[in-house]
Amino acid sequence: MLTYTLKRAGLAVIITAISLMLLISMIQLIPGDPAAVLLGPLASPEMREMFRQQMGLDQPAVIQIVRFFGRVLTGDLGTDVLTNRSVLVTVMEQLPFTLALVAASIGWSALLGIPLGCFAAIYRGSLADRIVGILSVSSIALPAFVVAVYGLLLFSVRLGWFPTIGAGDSGAPLDQLHHLVLPSLAVGLGWVGYLARMVRASMLEVLTENHIRMARAFGLPERTITYRYALKIAIIPTVVVLGMGVGNMISSAVFAEIVFARPGVGKLIFDAISTRNYPVVMGAVMITTGFYVLCTLAADLIAAGLDPRVRSTL
């Protein structure tokens, strides 16, 4: 297990580095002069030139990449060129909001999707299974932004149950939870169906295996067979997908952060790209990429823990 962990961690570092190099290369290809965009029409040519120097844009791409990695190693992600604040501070201010949204979305979708998948597998072919199937596919097919907008119109504007904007008052956890309901509904709904379908398929496969038949032959209760023996194995691919799902949800969070005017790292990156605020783009992507890689690493390690056969696959 230790060897597997070390190999997997090494791979994670390489993936992070490659992602960032791709990002920096893309930045070089994007049209638009950051100095013109950020400083506006009234800036003097001298001011623009000084600005380019501050951002390091007067240097070749290779130098920019080396400098960035050099700074990252010392824990310095650079300075936000708009506000002159530390990029690390700026990103860390926004990250908790995105993590809360991702955790809430993935949490409720897993809590609902996994039992639904088990239920559908146990009652395979029944009316209930078909209903779960239809609802699952519908929730996958429903675009998240449609859920967001109609959720706002119904639950906020019409019924007045939930707030339309913001993340709630700091230091008021109930208020923050209240602000999380609609965004997490929008981000997580598709995952309920996806997880339900996935768990159902895995469970159906596992439920036909010999050790399950053996358990039934021994007269173990169906509940014990399902949740203790079958689900433990069937959940492995789901755990891996959930790890990747975290990264997917960080991307999905962008639209939720815009529609619900929530703070968050997705919106931070979106705004920074629009304004060509490259230090913030690079710093924020560095942190989210690192986080995503950590999540997939954790998912792989959990899967390896649950099923020793996985350890030999790297």
């Binding site: 994007i30 049209p31 638009g32 002069d33 950051p34 013109a36 965009v37 400083l39 506006g40 029409p41 009234l42 800036a43 003097s44 040519p45 001298e46 001011m47 623009r48 708009l82 506000t83 002159n84 604040r85 700026t90 201010e93 926004q94 706002l152 119109l153 906020s156 504007v157 019924l159 007045g160 149950w161 707030p163 339309t164 904007i165 913001g166 993340a167 700091s170 109930l174 208020d175 939870l177 209240h178 815009i258 529609v259 619900f260 005017a261 703070p263 968050g264 919106k267 931070l268 705004d271 790209i273 629009s274 304004t275 060509r276």
Partner: protein, 516 residues
């Protein structure tokens, strides 16, 4: 009785969490203490010399005083702010006296005439290289007479000072002692404040909290706190207004007809003429637009009202130039109107009777996309096949900049929008020969225009100044490079629990907002 089961507790918690009564859903203005307003972007810099735009201006107006400020209402006029006296004694001298009782926060003492001197002179200090130095380009120096009074000395007469420099962000007064102590400039943390409100807290991307200044000696503002919430998306802001989460927001032009017909519950709508200007430009160096006949054909091929119907749903009026109604230099009518037959004839004369293909570059904003599609349809009627090229803001705003690459060479038709201050010079400055390759993306070169622009800035006689600006817009139209589309409109939605204080173009003066 074994007490509550886990299931009962969970059900009760869920019921409590979902209960509308558990959380107050009305914007806090309902209690008369807090005003919640929307800003279209978060703040980036609160130093008057380096502010980025309206979001900062709107906040600076509350936390820094100026000698004068614009008056809410339908007509552009100024009033005294921190000055008890402000008088132009001759074309180049403006005397001022500060009112009593103005005090800086953080122990920086009283607001003095020396602070005024520092605040205005730093705008033209080449070492500071202030972004807004143009607002004070005619300033020579400020003479301090005593602690409270002094004289602003100009190098030449400069009428724009009264419409822009003194009354907007560039006219805000900062503390010499406090600003010098932090190195001569600041970002989002003002080292000292003096206004009707104070910046209490900035939560990036969440809100700016302004709290009433306990040391303010003038008329107290109505609300204890103002929460300025950045909401980029207009539709989200409209929903927030409808849900009662905010008290004030700008609304999208496309939403104005809907809200006029069915105002949001507990809300009201106001529509103000915008000062901004939207135009279609043609690059006079890019074939075939290097021929005047072709440019004139385009001018006459475009049915501006139909373009505005598509883009603004009938809420905006056609423009007659780049200077909005109500300002010096506003032009009453255009020279060339919609005449597709004349356009076809001109194309024939230019040897392009069978038409040609061209591009329209636009910013990827809803109004501009709709306008471009309508223009595209108009052009197709005279045989011109236009392809629309949408750009994100980062790309679009450097298209015509010669120093940003070669994109400027490829511009043929462009639809653009510039914001504006209530002085005509703010509109015309960008179309001079010196601005070719900077902001004059049409590369239209009129030395007469450039000369008039310089003269109009120092002209004291309003009638003469007006005529100069009218002539300049005539030159623009005669040159064929421009089709003036609209100034747009500013739609404002607000809670019926408040009475907003709005400038003629809809800009808010938050400290003057009242409970209804």
């Amino acid at each position: 009785m074994s007490g509550l089961s886990r299931r009962q507790i969970l059900a009760a918690m869920a019921a409590a969490g979902f209960s509308p009564a558990f959380y107050s859903r009305a914007a806090l203005s309902a209690d008369g203490k807090t005003l919640k307003v929307r800003s279209y972007a978060d703040i980036q810099n609160l130093d008057p010399a380096f502010r980025k735009g309206a979001p900062e201006d709107d906040i600076m107006r509350n936390i820094f005083v100026g000698l004068a400020d614009m008056t809410p209402g339908d007509v552009w006029k100024w009033k005294l702010d921190a000055a008890s006296r402000l008088e132009q004694t001759d074309p180049t001298h403006i005397e001022f006296t500060l009112m009593d009782g103005l005090v800086w926060t953080d122990g920086h003492g009283a607001v003095t005439a020396d602070d005024v001197k520092f605040s205005f002179e730093r705008m033209i200090d080449p070492k500071l290289d202030a972004v807004y130095k143009g607002d004070w380009e005619a300033l020579d120096h400020v003479e301090v007479k005593d602690e409270k009074s002094g004289t602003i000395v100009l190098k030449a007469p400069f009428p724009p000072l009264w419409n822009v420099g003194l009354v907007f962000g560039s006219g805000r007064i900062v503390s010499r002692k406090a600003v010098e102590a932090v190195g001569g400039k600041f970002d989002t943390k003002p080292p000292a404040q003096c206004g009707r409100y104070l910046l209490k807290e900035w939560q990036p991307k969440q809100r700016v909290v302004l709290a009433r200044n306990p040391d303010w000696k003038g008329e107290a503002p109505q609300f204890d706190e103002i929460h300025v919430i950045p909401i980029e998306d207009e539709k989200t802001a409209e929903l927030a207004l409808e849900a009662g989460d905010i008290d004030y927001t700008w609304i999208a032009p496309s939403s104005i007809p809907r809200f006029k017909q069915t105002p949001p519950k507990g809300g009201k709508i106001a529509v103000k003429p915008s000062l901004a200007y939207v135009w279609l430009g043609m690059n006079v160096e890019a074939p075939p637009f290097d021929k005047l006949e072709v440019r004139r054909a385009v001018q006459q091929a475009i049915d501006v009202p139909s373009v505005l119907d598509a883009a603004y749903f009938g809420a905006a009026e056609p423009a007659t130039g780049i200077i909005a109604p109500g300002l010096i230099g506003h032009r009453e009518k255009n020279i060339y109107g919609y005449n597709p037959d004349a356009a076809r004839e001109l194309l024939n004369k230019a040897g392009l009777a069978s038409g040609f293909e061209c591009t329209i570059d636009i910013l990827n904003k809803t109004e501009q996309v709709s306008a471009a599609q309508a223009v595209q349809a108009n052009l197709s009627e005279v045989g011109i096949t236009a392809t629309i090229q949408q750009h994100d803001s980062g790309t679009f705003w450097s298209l015509g900049d010669q120093k940003s690459g070669d994109a400027w060479k490829k511009i043929q038709i462009i639809i653009n929008r510039f914001s504006m201050q209530p002085d005509p010079s703010f509109a015309t400055d960008w179309f001079t020969p010196e601005q070719i390759g900077v902001w004059n993306w049409e590369r239209w070169n009129s030395p007469e225009f450039g000369e008039l622009n310089k003269q109009a800035k120092v002209e004291q006689d309003e009638k003469k100044r007006n005529d100069m600006y009218v002539r300049m817009q005539d030159l623009m139209e005669e040159g064929g490079a421009y089709v003036f589309l609209t100034h747009g409109v500013t739609g404002i939605g607000y809670s019926d629990t408040i009475t907003p204080a709005l400038l003629p173009h809809g800009g808010p003066i938050f400290h003057a907002f009242k409970s209804a």
